[in-house]
Symmetry: C2
Subunit: 161 residues, 2 copies
């Protein structure tokens, strides 16, 4: 008999990780699609260039996953982040491996445990992770407008392969 | 003892519904933030105006939830959608109630059941719902650029109240 109500699962840890990594593959293709100079300089409406958004994704992903997994919140300093396209892509790939390792081994109780991310944002582990994913989708969508404004066809949003 | 592995839950049906409705509250504030004429006319990089994106969210939300819940995929025709700001907001609120009703009562097995959405896109119920949420975040992020380009401060992304 099917269950209803809020005790039951709609998403497993492995499915959530794969969902994030699928989005991260799209974001990686976005970084690749930008000409190097435009990645670091182009914007619309006095917003940040896409490189700054990518740096934010990187500052959020591995440190956040590690914080949810361990309760230790260690931020990456912005000055320590790469400022070349190749450097961003290399750190992107390192983060991919780190997320698989951290979240792949994380005990399930960490998803429901409430903690204060980086000493600032209180929420359950699942909420912290969903926030990182949603923030990436949100700003990446802005990057799509930048590419369109540059006359460059962006990668397909629906292709997560 | 904490569980690990992919049998366990990180998100309940009720939490997923609330997550979507939180995002939908942000999107509703975005619709409100656009001046009526800009909502239907303004864009960047030859993209669609934000009204067309909102119409897409509406074409996707209730019909998709109903399809996942019942296996019956009945599309809304684009010509039947409102083409005023007040009309879009009214349908937005009607959809909010409908989603609470449909997803609030949906048996849990529907999330893992594979179906072909609108006869076209195959996936599990949970994947169909996540796609609708992610698509809304993605295009709404584009709407943020439109508002910034218009010199209008958009609603806070992180405020889901």
């Amino acid at each position: 008999m099917p269950q209803t109500g809020n005790e039951a699962s709609v998403l497993t840890p492995q499915a959530l990780l794969e969902h994030w990594q699928g989005h991260r593959r799209v974001t990686r293709r976005m970084i690749e699609a930008f000409p190097e100079d435009k990645l670091f300089s182009f914007s619309v409406g006095s917003m940040r260039p896409f490189s700054k958004m990518v740096q934010e994704f990187l500052m959020m992903a591995e440190p956040l996953a590690r914080g949810v997994a361990t309760g230790e919140w260690v931020a990456i300093e912005e000055r320590d982040l790469p400022n070349t396209k190749a450097g961003l892509l290399a750190l992107w790939d390192k983060t991919t491996t780190a997320l698989n390792s951290i979240l792949g081994a994380m005990p399930i109780d960490r998803y429901s445990r409430v903690d204060k991310a980086f000493g600032k944002w209180e929420g359950r582990g699942i909420d912290q992770i969903l926030y990182a994913i949603d923030n990436e989708i949100h700003h990446r969508g802005q990057g799509y407008v930048y590419l369109r404004a540059l006359g460059i066809e962006p990668p397909a949003f629906y292709d997560r392969s």
